[in-house]
Symmetry: C2
Subunit: 118 residues, 2 copies
């Protein structure tokens, strides 16, 4: 059984962006924390929803027909198959993300590294 994890303390242990850390596992999913800044790429996940909970900062989740802006304490789920692009336009964003264990941010062969366990 994993010990509890303190999220603020864990955020203090890293500074790289778009490089998630796995803080817990739940039924084959990774609960990940990540710092992001600037633009990600347009992508979609065919086999999984994409869960976002912003803890600090402002995150735009661009959809093809609108933009959903999340502030601290705001939750949004991009359903599977829906194209989206996360963009942090106003400085660093800290957030929680959930993905099935082993999922890469934008699929196999992407330049993004896989999430790493803390």
């Amino acid at each position: 059984m994993r010990d509890k994890v303190n999220l603020p303390e864990t955020f203090d242990t890293f500074s790289d962006h778009w490089a998630p850390r796995i803080v817990a596992e739940y039924n084959g999913n990774d609960i990940r924390i990540v710092k992001v800044d600037g633009e990600f790429v347009w992508h979609s996940h065919e086999d999984t929803d994409d869960f976002f909970l912003v803890l600090d900062g402002l995150l735009d989740i661009e959809l093809r027909d609108r933009t959903v802006t999340l502030g601290p304490g705001e939750v949004f789920v991009v359903p599977r198959g829906v194209e989206h692009r996360p963009v942090a336009r106003h400085g660093e964003v800290k957030m929680i993300n959930i993905e099935p264990s082993g999922t890469h941010n934008v699929g196999e062969g992407s330049p993004q590294s896989a999430a790493v366990a803390i």
Copy 2:
């Protein structure tokens, strides 16, 4: 597609304890927020892990051999099949919990109501 949900604003809409509200769905799981106070009952889930993220207050998760105390920003997962009892000894606790959609807190026939969508 569901709209985003603001967690602090949603917490302000209810005051009952041990009565989760579903704020999002992710791959067949409910992301729930709940206010708790006092003792719950000993229980385990045979088919699912139990995810806790405390947002406010102090929550004791009693296990048979030890107690894990979670404060704000702390995450803990009780693996499936492990007996546990959540206890808020020091006043109200606000937290996020994840369970497979349709799961009751302590199984079928329990006095706890199922989670309701907001």
